[in-house]
C-alpha cells in the first residue's frame, strides 16, 4: 500500500476558534513528520499562517488558502496528490473532506482517502446512523424518542422512566430544553417546548453520570489499543472541553475501566476506523451501566491531550497506520526500543483545566454547560491529585495561586454557584469548603464524585494547618514537605504562614524559598516515559514533583543549555503565534549546537512536543518553578521574548536573582512595560503619545477630560465584570462604566487616555541588535484605531500609507531601539492621522504578528532575533520590505456563535480567538482569501445594511453603490435607507427588531433573505441599543456573515465585486 503513495495532501483546520484550536497544529505537524519520514511529498492547505505546520521543512508545499471544498478542489486539480488525510484538521477538514467525497471530487482526480474511510466518518457524524450502527453490536446509546404532541411525550416518558430531559428540535441556544422529574413537570415543560418547535425529543436523563473518554487506535490488521482513558471531574452535562479532566481515570475500578475499554475496541472495529478515534461514555456512578455519548472518528482535542498526557504520539502513529503500517511494526518513540503496540502506563496524574476568557465579551452568559466556551487549556502533571490541580489552577493564568489562597473572590449565592456551574466553579468549591460545607453537601449540589471533593478538602485542611504557624522556623519540615507534596507554592505558604500581604509577599516568598532550600526541600525531576520506569527510556519529557527523592536525569552543568519560556494557556490575545516563535527559537538554539530547553504547559502546542527540543519541562511558568529549573540547568541564558507576556512579566524578578537573560536588558523591558517610565522616555525623545493620566477619583477624571475631551479610553486596574478596557463618549457612559463594571479609588486607579478617532493604526515588527535595527516590517490596519490590533485586519506590506509616515515611523522606532538598547524582537504600534504620528504601545518581545510578517517576507525574523540574542553570527537581510510584489492580509476569526448572548461587536479589548494570513497578487485577492478563510462568504442575493454614524455612512457609500451596480438587493434600516436614497441608491426599508412591521431585520436574517449583514454600532461604547444587538446576534445565530466595521465592510465589498472567486489564483507560498 505504501509504495504507490508518493504525494499526500493534508487539510489543516484553519484559524483557531473555540472548539478547534492549537491541538490541530500539533496533530497536523506530527502527521506531516510521519509522512516525510517515509519520503512522501507533502502538500498542506491551511490559511493559519501562525502555525508551526505551515513552516518550511514541515510540509513540502504550503497553500495559505481557505479549507473549503472549492479551494481544496482547485488545489487537488493542480497538485494531483495520490492520497489525502482528512482526520488531522479537526471538524473543518473532516467536513470539507466529506463534502468533496459526496461530490465525487476524490474519485474524479483519483485521490485515495488514507486511513479511516469516509463512509465510516459519516456513520459517526450522523446521529441516526451512529445510533443504528452501535445498535448492531448491542452497544448502548442514550435512549431518545422524537414526539410531536404532549400526549406522545408523556407516553415516551413512561417508556424511558423519569427523570427525563426534553429538547426542542431545531432551536438555538437550548431554548425549550430542561429536566423533568415527574408527569406534571413534563406536561408544563413540553407545552412550553412546543411553542418553540413542532417536534421535541424526550431523552433519558443521565444527569450526574460520570463522563469518561477513551482514545482508541486500530491498524489495518485489526490490532487495537486504547492509549489513554480520561475522566471528567464534572459529571455529564458539562462539555468535556469545559470540564477539568484527569488522566488516567481515578474513580473507576478495574472492571469498569476494562468494560469500557473492551467496548471501545468493539466500536472501533465495527465502525472500521484505521487510525485513531475517541469514544465518550456516560457511566452510572451507582452501577456499571453506561451509554456511549459520542465517537469522534478523527484526531481531536482529547487525542492531543492524551498524547501529551502519556507521551504516546497519537497523530504520528495514526498517520503511519493510514499508510498501511501495523502497530506492531512501529516503535515507541519515547523508549525507541519497545513497540508502539502497547498501552502507556502512567506513574503520575495529569489534570487538564480549561481557560475561559468570558470577561472579554459583552453580554455573554457565564454558565458552563453542554457547549464549549473555553478558549484554551492547560495540563498539569503531578504525583498527587492535589499537586496537579494546584499547579493547574496557577497555570490557567487568571491570577490564582492554587485551589486555595486566592483573594477577591466572592460568591453571592454559593449554593446556586455550585448547582449551576459557571467558569468559577472550582473556586466556588473552595469557598464552600471554607464556609464549612461538607463533602456530602457539595456532592449533592455538584454531583462531582466525592473522591475529587475529598482531595480538594484535603487542600483546605492543609491550608488551615499552615495558618497555625507564623514563621518558617516554627513550621516543621514534615508539614512544609507535606504542603509542597500537595501542590502548595512558596507564595501560598508565604501567605498562610508568614501572613504576608501585597508588596511584602514577593519578599516573603523568597524567604520561604531560601528556608526550604536550606532544609533540603526541593522538587525532583521525573521523566514521562510511557512505561512507568519498566524499561529504560532516553526521554527528555520531564516534570517536577515533590513526591520524589531522586532526579531521573543528571545535569551536565556545561553552560550549553538555553532555556526558552513558552506562552502558557491559549487565551484571547496570546495563542499559536507565540508557539511558532518559541519553536523557532528552540530550532535556532539547536542549530547552533546548544541545548534547547523548553518550559511550557499547554497541551495544544507544538512547543510541548518532546521531539522539538533537547529537554522539555512540562511545568509551570511561575517564578518559583522557573527558578527551580534554572537552579538545575545552570543555563547559559534564558530567552523570555518568545512566549508573549507571561515570560516578559518575569524579567525583573529573574534578573534580580542573577539569572542571565538573553537579549534586551531586563531594565529596558521594565522601562517599556511601566507606563510612567515609558512616557517620560518618550517625552525625553520628543516622541508623541496620546495624552493620558493615572487617576484616582471622579473629580480628577472629569478635570482631565475637560482638557482632552471625549471620547476617552478607560483602563481600570480593578474590574468587576465585563471588559477591562472601554471607550466612553460622554459623561453618562463614563459614570455607567466606572460604577457598574469597574471601580475607581485610591487603591484602584484608572488610566484615562485621549482617544483619537479616525486615525490609521500602523505597526512595526522589528529585530534590533545592540540598539540598532537589523530588520523590520511595517504593516497597516484596515480598520481605524479603536479596533484592537488583535481583532483588526492587517495588511503587509502597507498599501495606503504616506512615504512620509513610513519615514517618521522608522525614525521613531530607531530612536526607541537605541534608547532601550534592544537586542531581539520588538513591536511598536502607532496612530497616524495625516503625518502626525503617536506611539500607543511598545512591546520588547515577539509580537502576535511576527509569524505573519516573517512568512510573507519569507525572512524568519525569530530565527534572526534568536541569533542576535544568542550572540552568534547573523546576517542582516538584504531585501527591502517594499520589494514585495504581492500582498499579505491577516484576518481575525471570531467565535461568537459559540458564545451564547455575547454581542459580536468589536472594541478596544480583543475578542477574536484566532487568525489567518493569506497571500495574493493584489490586496483584493489577499483580503478575500483571508476573509473566506475565517468564514465569510460572497453574498449572492441581498445585503442588509445599518450603517451607524454619519462618518461610517459616508465611508460605506461608494461600496453600496457598487453593490447596487452588481445587482444586489439592498435592505437598510430607516436612517441608512434615507441616506442612501438621498445619494440616489434605491434600498428597501428593513424595520427594526422591536417594530411589528415587515420586512423586519431579524426576519430577513432568519429566513435567509439576506446573505450579508453590515451593522455598524452607533458609537464606540458598550451600551448598545438592543435593536442593533438583536440584528448582530441574529446574524451570528443564523450563520449569516456579519461585518461591524465600515472600513472593513467597504474593503470586502470592493474586493468581492472586483475579483470573482473563480478568478483567484491558486498559488503555493513558494510561488510568490
Amino acid at each position: 500500500m505504501k509504495d504507490d503513495i508518493k504525494k499526500v495532501l493534508l487539510l489543516g483546520s484553519g484559524a483557531l476558534k473555540i472548539g478547534e484550536a492549537g491541538e490541530f497544529d500539533y496533530s497536523g505537524s506530527q502527521a506531516l513528520k510521519a509522512l516525510r519520514e517515509e519520503g512522501i511529498y507533502t502538500v498542506l492547505i491551511n490559511p493559519n499562517i501562525a502555525t508551526v505546520q505551515t513552516s518550511e521543512k514541515i510540509a513540502d508545499k504550503i497553500y495559505f488558502l481557505p479549507v473549503t471544498p472549492k479551494f481544496v478542489e482547485r488545489v487537488i486539480e493542480r497538485e494531483k496528490p495520490d492520497g489525502i488525510l482528512l482526520s488531522f484538521g479537526g471538524q473543518t477538514a473532516l467536513n470539507c473532506g466529506t463534502a468533496l467525497f459526496r461530490t465525487g471530487v476524490f474519485e474524479k482526480f483519483a485521490v485515495r482517502v488514507l486511513g479511516t474511510p469516509v463512509e465510516a466518518i459519516m456513520n459517526t457524524e450522523d446521529r441516526e446512523l451512529f445510533v443504528k450502527k452501535l445498535d448492531e453490536i448491542s452497544v448502548k446509546t442514550p435512549r431518545s424518542v422524537a414526539v410531536t404532541s404532549v400526549e406522545d411525550a408523556l407516553s415516551a416518558a413512561g417508556q424511558l422512566g423519569f427523570p427525563i430531559i426534553i429538547r426542542a428540535a431545531y432551536t438555538l441556544g437550548g431554548q425549550g430544553s430542561g429536566f423533568c422529574s415527574n408527569t406534571d413537570e413534563l406536561r408544563t415543560m413540553a407545552a412550553r417546548a412546543f411553542s418553540y418547535s413542532d417536534q421535541i425529543l424526550v431523552e433519558e436523563s443521565l444527569k450526574g453520570w460520570k463522563e469518561v473518554e477513551y482514545e482508541v487506535v486500530r491498524d489495518r490488521f485489526d490490532n487495537c489499543i486504547t492509549v489513554c482513558n480520561m475522566e471528567n471531574f464534572d459529571p455529564l452535562g458539562i462539555h468535556t472541553g469545559e470540564s477539568i479532566v484527569v488522566a488516567p481515570s481515578q474513580t473507576l475500578t478495574n472492571s469498569e475501566y476494562h468494560k469500557l475499554r473492551e467496548l471501545s475496541i468493539k466500536i472501533i472495529r465495527h465502525i472500521g476506523i484505521i487510525g485513531e478515534c475517541n469514544v465518550q461514555y456516560a457511566l452510572d456512578p451507582g452501577s456499571e451501566d453506561y451509554r456511549v455519548i459520542e465517537v469522534n472518528a478523527r484526531l481531536s482535542r482529547s487525542s492531543a491531550l492524551a498524547s501529551k498526557a502519556t507521551g504516546y504520539p497519537l497523530a504520528f502513529v495514526a498517520a503511519k497506520l493510514a499508510l498501511g503500517y501495523g502497530l506492531h511494526q512501529l516503535k515507541n518513540s519515547v523508549t525507541r526500543s519497545t513497540t508502539a503496540c502497547f498501552e502507556p502506563a502512567l506513574d503520575y496524574i495529569v489534570c487538564k483545566i480549561p481557560r475561559w476568557d468570558l470577561n472579554k465579551f459583552q453580554g455573554v452568559a457565564h454558565e458552563i454547560g453542554s457547549s464549549m466556551k473555553s478558549v484554551g487549556e492547560i495540563m498539569a502533571i503531578g504525583r498527587t491529585f492535589e499537586e496537579a490541580i494546584q499547579k493547574g489552577l496557577r497555570m490557567i493564568g487568571l491570577g490564582m495561586h492554587g485551589f486555595v489562597s486566592n483573594r477577591n473572590l466572592s460568591f453571592n449565592d454559593i449554593e446556586k454557584e455550585l448547582s449551576q456551574p459557571t467558569d468559577m466553579r472550582i473556586f466556588s468549591i473552595a469557598e464552600a469548603l471554607e464556609k464549612g460545607f461538607d463533602v456530602d453537601r457539595i456532592w449533592e449540589l455538584t454531583r462531582i464524585d466525592r473522591w475529587f471533593l475529598y482531595k480538594l478538602q484535603n487542600i483546605s485542611h492543609i491550608k488551615k494547618e499552615l495558618e497555625k504557624y507564623d514563621s518558617m522556623e516554627s513550621l516543621p519540615d514534615r508539614e512544609l514537605l507535606h504542603a509542597k507534596i500537595n501542590g502548595f507554592s512558596d507564595f501560598q505558604i508565604a501567605r498562610h504562614v508568614l501572613k504576608s500581604e501585597n508588596r511584602a509577599i514577593n519578599e516573603a516568598m523568597l524567604s520561604v524559598r531560601r528556608h526550604r532550600r536550606s532544609r533540603g526541600i526541593v522538587p525532583y525531576v521525573k521523566q514521562i516515559d510511557t512505561l512507568a520506569a519498566e524499561y529504560p527510556a532516553m526521554t527528555n519529557y520531564l516534570y517536577l514533583t515533590y513526591s520524589g527523592m531522586e532526579h531521573d536525569i543528571w545535569y551536565e552543568n556545561d553552560k550549553r543549555s538555553v532555556i526558552v519560556l513558552g506562552s502558557g494557556a491559549y487565551r484571547i490575545g496570546s495563542s499559536v503565534e507565540f508557539d511558532w516563535c518559541s519553536v523557532n527559537a528552540i530550532n535556532t538554539i539547536r542549530k547552533e549546537g546548544l541545548r534547547g530547553v523548553m518550559i511550557n504547559y499547554n497541551p495544544e502546542t507544538v512547543s510541548t512536543d518532546y521531539d522539538m527540543c533537547d529537554r522539555l519541562y512540562f511545568d509551570e511558568l511561575s517564578f518559583e518553578r522557573v527558578m527551580d529549573i534554572i537552579d538545575l540547568e545552570t543555563p547559559r541564558g534564558v530567552i523570555l521574548a518568545m512566549g508573549g507576556q507571561i515570560p516578559n512579566n518575569l524579567a525583573m524578578r529573574l534578573h534580580r536573582q542573577g539569572v542571565p537573560i538573553l537579549g534586551t536588558p531586563p531594565e529596558s523591558i521594565d522601562r517599556a512595560e511601566d507606563r510612567h517610565k515609558f512616557s517620560s522616555m518618550c517625552d525625553a525623545l520628543d516622541i508623541d503619545q496620546p495624552r493620558w493620566k493615572e487617576l484616582r477619583s471622579f473629580e480628577e477624571i472629569n478635570k482631565f477630560i475637560e482638557d482632552i475631551g471625549f471620547p476617552v479610553l478607560i483602563r481600570p486596574s480593578y474590574v468587576l465584570s465585563g471588559a477591562a478596557m472601554n471607550v466612553v463618549s460622554n459623561s453618562t457612559e463614563l459614570v455607567h462604566f466606572l460604577e457598574l463594571a469597574a471601580s475607581v479609588s485610591k487603591e484602584h486607579p484608572v488610566v484615562v487616555s485621549e482617544f483619537i478617532e479616525y486615525a490609521k493604526e500602523i505597526e512595526i515588527d522589528a529585530v534590533a541588535s545592540g540598539g540598532d535595527i537589523v530588520a523590520y516590517a511595517i504593516s497597516e490596519h484596515v480598520e481605524y484605531a479603536g479596533v484592537h490590533s488583535g481583532d483588526a485586519t492587517i495588511v503587509f506590506p502597507p498599501q495606503k500609507i504616506y512615504f512620509e509616515t513610513v519615514r517618521r515611523i522608522k525614525r521613531i522606532t530607531r530612536e526607541i531601539a537605541r534608547e532601550l538598547n534592544i537586542s531581539g524582537p520588538f513591536n511598536i504600534q502607532f496612530l497616524a492621522r495625516e503625518n502626525d504620528i503617536k506611539v500607543i504601545e511598545c512591546n520588547l518581545r515577539a509580537s502576535r504578528s511576527m509569524p505573519f510578517v516573517s512568512k510573507v517576507l519569507k525572512t524568519n525574523l525569530i530565527e534572526l532575533a534568536t541569533r542576535v540574542m544568542l550572540g552568534v553570527q547573523w546576517e542582516k537581510p538584504h531585501k527591502s520590505v517594499f520589494d514585495l510584489d504581492y500582498v499579505g492580509v491577516k484576518a481575525s476569526q471570531f467565535s461568537f456563535s459559540r458564545l451564547a448572548k455575547a454581542d459580536p461587536v468589536l472594541g478596544v479589548d480583543m475578542a477574536s480567538t484566532g487568525e489567518v494570513g493569506c497571500i495574493g497578487d493584489s490586496f483584493h485577492e489577499a483580503l478575500l482569501k483571508a476573509m473566506y478563510s475565517v468564514g465569510y462568504r460572497m453574498p449572492v442575493k441581498a445585503v442588509l445594511i445599518s450603517s451607524g454614524p454619519a462618518k461610517s455612512k459616508a465611508d460605506l457609500l461608494e461600496a453600496v453603490r457598487l453593490l447596487e451596480k452588481r445587482g444586489y438587493k439592498i435592505f437598510a434600516t430607516r436612517g441608512t435607507q434615507q441616506f442612501l436614497s438621498n445619494a440616489g441608491i434605491a434600498a428597501k426599508v428593513a424595520h427594526w427588531p422591536d417594530e411589528a412591521a415587515s420586512p423586519n431585520t431579524v426576519e430577513l436574517i432568519k429566513l435567509r433573505v439576506v446573505d450579508l449583514v453590515i451593522n455598524i454600532p452607533k458609537d464606540l461604547s458598550a451600551t448598545e441599543l438592543s435593536n442593533d444587538y438583536q440584528i448582530r446576534r441574529s446574524a451570528v445565530d443564523y450563520n449569516i456573515p456579519l461585518i461591524t466595521n465600515a472600513r472593513l465592510a467597504s474593503a470586502f465589498i470592493n474586493a468581492f465585486c472586483s475579483v470573482p472567486e473563480s478568478e483567484m489564483e491558486i498559488k503555493a507560498w513558494d510561488e510568490y
Binding site: I225, T338, F342, E343, R478, H482, E534, D552
Partner: protein, 365 residues
C-alpha cells in the same frame, strides 16, 4: 489522616538501600521479594492474586485506594470482586495513599482491608525511584519495618509457594456440558468464571493431585506463584497427560509447568512482567494483543522440544508468551487471558480451548 499522626516505616532492600515512608494497613513488619506492577487500576485484583504470594508489591501508579475495597459478595461459590479468598501479598508499597475513597462497590477502605488481613502498607515512598532500582538490579528481597519493629529477609523463591496457595481439597463448580479438570496452583477466580461462562463443570484439584482417576474432557493448568521447578508432582502428572489426546490449556505458571513437562527449560527473569500493557504477537501472524501479566519466570524458547512451537512472543523483549503442540490440542500462554485486572483482548483463547474439546470428541460424560 492528620500528617503528624503518622507512623514511620522503613523499607530495606537486600542491597542495603533504605526508603522511608508512612504506615497504612496493618502496623506490622513483613519480608519478601520486592516486585513492581505498572497497572493503573485493579489493586483489589492484584492483592488477591495468589501469584503474588511471598511478594512485597510496589504499585508504580502513585494514587492508590481511591475506590476503596470491595466486599466478599459471592456468586457461583466465588467471591465476585476477589481473585481468591483473601490478600496474598506480603506488603504493599505506594506513593500516595488515598485515605478517603468513593465507590458504590466499596465496603471499606484499602487501609481497613489491609489491617483486617494483617498486611502492612507503606505510602510516601518514591515508587519510581524504587522501580528503577529493581529494574537495574533485578527483583530483590526486601523487608518492611514500622518504627520500633524488625524482621529478617525472607526468600519466597526457596519455598514451595504453590503448596501454600493451592486448594486443599477437590471441589466442583458448575454443572455444564464440558468437564474441565483444573489443576489449582493458585488459581485466579476469573479463570473459573471464564470457564463457567462456557458451559463447563470444573473439578478443581490440589496442585499435586493425581487426577488420572478423574473423568474429564479438558485439562486446565492454572497460574500460581514462584519457581515452577518447585512443582515436581504437578510436572510429573502433566507429563503423563501429554501422552493423552485430551486438550490442555495452561496459563502463566501453567505454561511453565507444561513446558517443563514437555522437556523445555524455564529461567528467572531479571525483574519479571507485571502490568496490564504487555504486547504479545501471535507467531507467524500480524496479530498483536495487549495482555495482563504477572510472572517472574519464563520459558526458554530455545529449549522447546520437537513438536512444540512458540504460540506468542513478547513484542518488547521477544520472551516466550505461550506455546503449542504442532499436532495435538495443547496450548498455553504466559499472559493472562482471563485478565482481572487488565485487558480482556485474549479471552477468545477460552473459546479456543472449548473448540479443541469439541473437536477432540466433545463432552464424553
Amino acid at each position: 489522616m492528620r500528617n503528624n499522626d503518622r507512623l514511620s516505616v522503613r523499607l530495606t532492600l537486600e542491597d542495603g538501600t533504605v526508603y522511608r515512608g508512612w504506615s497504612f494497613g496493618a502496623p506490622v513488619a513483613a519480608a519478601g521479594e520486592v516486585v513492581f506492577n505498572t497497572a493503573m487500576t485493579g489493586y483489589p485484583e492484584s492483592l488477591t492474586d495468589p501469584s503474588y504470594r511471598g511478594q512485597i508489591l510496589c504499585l508504580t501508579y502513585p494514587l492508590v485506594g481511591n475506590y476503596g475495597a470491595p466486599g466478599k459478595s459471592e456468586q457461583d461459590d466465588l467471591y465476585m470482586f476477589y481473585e481468591s479468598s483473601g490478600v496474598h501479598i506480603s506488603a504493599l508499597i505506594v506513593s500516595d495513599y488515598s485515605f478517603e475513597f468513593s465507590h458504590w462497590n466499596a465496603i471499606e477502605s484499602l487501609d481497613e482491608w489491609l489491617r483486617r488481613s494483617n498486611v502492612p502498607g507503606i505510602f510516601g515512598i518514591d515508587t519510581r525511584a524504587l522501580t528503577k532500582r529493581i529494574r537495574e538490579k533485578g527483583a530483590m528481597l526486601g523487608k518492611v519495618e514500622p518504627e520500633g519493629m524488625t524482621t529478617d529477609f525472607y526468600d519466597p523463591n526457596k519455598v514451595n509457594l504453590v503448596a501454600e496457595v493451592s486448594t486443599s481439597a477437590r471441589k466442583v463448580y458448575g454443572n455444564g456440558k464440558y468437564r474441565i479438570l483444573l489443576v489449582d496452583c493458585g488459581v485466579k477466580f476469573n479463570i473459573i468464571r471464564n470457564l463457567l461462562k462456557r458451559d463447563t463443570t470444573i473439578i478443581r484439584v490440589p496442585w499435586d493431585y493425581d487426577y488420572s482417576v478423574e473423568e474429564y474432557d479438558g485439562l486446565f493448568l492454572t497460574n500460581g506463584p514462584g519457581d515452577p521447578k518447585m512443582c515436581r508432582a504437578a510436572i510429573d502428572n502433566i507429563r503423563k497427560s501429554l501422552d493423552d489426546d485430551r486438550p490442555i490449556f495452561g496459563i502463566c505458571l501453567g505454561n511453565q509447568l507444561m513446558a517443563l513437562a514437555a522437556g523445555a527449560d524455564t529461567y528467572k527473569l531479571r525483574y519479571g512482567h507485571r502490568s496490564h500493557n504487555q504486547p504479545v504477537q501471535m507467531v507467524g501472524t500480524d496479530r498483536a494483543y495487549i495482555t495482563s501479566q504477572n510472572h517472574g519466570f519464563a520459558v526458554n524458547n530455545n529449549t522447546l522440544p520437537a513438536g512444540w512451537v512458540p504460540l506468542f512472543v513478547n513484542v518488547n523483549d521477544n520472551t516466550n508468551e505461550g506455546m503449542k503442540h504442532v499436532s495435538r490440542p495443547f496450548f498455553s500462554t504466559q499472559f493472562h487471558p482471563e485478565a482481572s485486572g487488565g485487558p480482556t483482548d485474549t479471552d477468545f483463547l477460552f473459546d479456543l480451548f472449548i473448540e479443541n474439546i469439541e473437536r477432540a470428541g466433545g463432552s464424553r460424560h
